[in-house]
């Protein structure tokens, strides 16, 4: 019996990766916007933004390892 796309775990993982990456894009763009708005903010606040970017890169590399 052929499995429908929804039941196929590989397909589910693929869709999940896609959706997570969508949200990561969103966060990346928000960081860019905040960086722009916080140009005069103290350095440690701006560092936080860099740390978030690092975490996004880590999440993406975790996703890549499941491909």
């Amino acid at each position: 019996m052929p499995t429908s796309q929804k039941e196929d775990p590989a397909e589910r993982l693929r869709t999940a990766r896609h959706d997570i990456r969508n949200q990561l894009s969103n966060i990346n763009l928000l960081i860019e916007q905040l960086k722009y708005e916080m140009q005069n903010a103290p350095a440690d606040q701006r560092d936080c933004l860099h740390m978030i970017t690092d975490s996004i890169e880590k999440i993406d590399s975790i996703l890549k390892s499941t491909e």
């Binding site: 693929r14 990456r21 894009s25 990346n28 763009l29 860019e32 916007q33 491909e67």
Partner: protein, 469 residues
């Protein structure tokens, strides 16, 4: 200001992207569905469309198809959450400029967009005058600066080239493009394709110089699975791939005699049969070939079939070498500098007078390709915002010597003119250059070919042609 349309059903992404790009100097519009995207495209001339692959009402492939058929001069970048190489290749073949995978990184996006706009730049400039991009005058403007910037320029030689492209593009003629290595033969072929009624069909380029005898047939005609040892899967040949569009054969002079015979049959009958198959497939392919050697010479020596030559030679275009395009050299150099700045995120603004002199005197054996590489390299290593001779590679200073030799015989421009008139000037110049480079590298042909920016086979052929051993 360059106009960009973002089509993405994730409203937040579209909004944030739009803010980011607006800050970076673009005029941005957004659409949240395929249908509204197409509606917006009708209203304005966009330089570039950023389109998400997964849309609620359609997908990136369909959008690309529609944009390319209705607005061929608008660049398209597809954004997707799937990293699927096969899909990427397919989209690029369909005419997408690039393919960005999510997660999006703003710097990366900006870089890709800048490059895409550089490439499509001139193509859309013409549109600013009005929507009738197919009108003769507009077409001329678009031709005058295609992708690599090969045709831009105000010299007589480049204007003549633009005129010829405009003339032959709308026809179905086969074209031979003759010219030295690096003069932009492939760009010219692309330009012909882009200005022909076939522009929405595939443009397939094939380098015949790198084909082995054994592989050539299956590359051209394809093969069926199991038709010979190693044929694990059915392969579609380049003729079939280009069906409906244009097939560009580079370095056609390097094809073996046997393959030429098979090619002649296909070109004459306009039918192709995959190896191991009995089914004939009808072909509607325009053929453009390019060569850097004198094919007629090849015919005389029995290396190239005369009948095939005449099939190809319904029209021929001579690509002027860069050294004959005097005033264009700096124009092109500045164009490449701008491109390199965008690519490397640098801000190098000018060339020092000494560099300009070097550029004008140098012989550019590798032509535009060489100029582009040298400018890119210089932009990377320049220490200030001006490129000085320090940033130029040694071979340019080495080349100063022959220029001085010529200048002892009189004023340089005058000598140029004389050479221009002489029938064998190009050959002589090649002879001089090849000999000098060979001497410099102690007759190591691989090294010489590298410096001359031609492949080794071409060097051998040239050495043979001018009786160098």
């Amino acid at each position: 200001m360059k106009k960009i349309l973002i089509i993405d059903d994730e409203v937040n992404v579209a909004l944030l992207l739009s803010k980011f790009l607006t800050r970076n100097g673009f005029d941005v519009s957004t659409a949240s569905s395929g249908a509204s995207g197409l509606e917006q495209l009708k209203a304005g001339n966009f330089n570039l469309v950023l389109c998400d692959y997964r849309l609620e009402d359609t997908d990136g492939r369909e959008m690309l198809r529609q944009i390319k058929s209705n607005y061929p001069q608008t660049g398209v970048i597809i954004i997707t959450g799937y990293s699927d190489i096969k899909m990427a290749v397919e989209l690029i073949k369909m005419g997408a400029y690039d393919y960005i995978t999510k997660p999006l990184y703003p710097d990366e996006i900006l870089n890709t967009i800048t490059k895409a706009i550089e490439t499509h730049n001139a193509l859309v400039e013409g549109q600013d005058d009005g929507p009738s991009a197919s009108a003769g005058i507009n077409r001329k403007q678009t031709v005058s600066a295609t992708a690599s910037g090969m045709v831009i320029g105000s010299s007589k030689a480049s204007k003549e080239l633009a005129r010829q492209i405009e003339l032959v593009a709308p026809t179905n003629y086969s074209v031979i493009i003759l010219g030295e290595s690096g003069t932009g033969k492939e760009e010219t072929a692309k330009s012909i394709h882009m200005h022909s009624p076939r522009r929405n069909q595939p443009f397939v380029a094939m380098d015949c110089g790198s084909l082995t005898k054994e592989l050539a047939a299956s590359e051209f005609f394809g093969h069926e699975k199991g038709s010979f040892t190693g044929a694990f899967a059915t392969k579609i040949g380049h003729f079939e791939m280009a069906n409906g569009g244009t097939l560009f054969l580079d370095e056609v002079g390097n094809l073996s005699y046997e393959i030429q015979a098979a090619l002649l049959r296909t070109v004459q009958e306009r039918k192709v049969k995959r190896i191991g198959s009995t089914k004939e497939i009808d072909l509607d392919v325009r053929i453009i070939v390019a060569t850097n050697e004198n094919l007629q010479d090849g015919i005389m020596k029995g290396r190239f079939r005369e009948d095939l030559y005449h099939r190809f030679n319904e029209f021929s275009i001579h690509m002027p070498p860069l050294r004959e395009r005097g005033q264009d050299i700096m124009l092109l150099a500045e164009h490449f500098l701008k491109m390199s700045n965008a690519e490397l995120n640098r801000n190098v603004t000018s060339f020092s007078p000494a560099v300009v002199e070097c550029f004008m005197n140098y012989r550019w054996p590798g032509n535009i390709r060489e100029l582009k590489n040298i400018v890119r390299r210089a932009a990377l290593i320049a220490e200030s915002n001006e490129i000085t001779t320090k940033a130029l590679p040694l071979e340019i200073s080495n080349y100063k010597i022959p220029t001085l030799d010529y200048s002892t015989a009189g004023d340089v421009p005058e000598v140029r003119e004389q050479r221009h008139d002489l029938k064998n000037a190009a050959l002589e110049a090649e002879y001089d250059t090849i000999l000098r480079v060979l001497k410099e590298v102690s007759y190591n042909k691989t090294k010489a070919a590298e410096i001359l920016k031609i492949d080794r086979k071409t060097l051998y052929n040239k050495m043979k042609a001018i009786n160098l051993k």
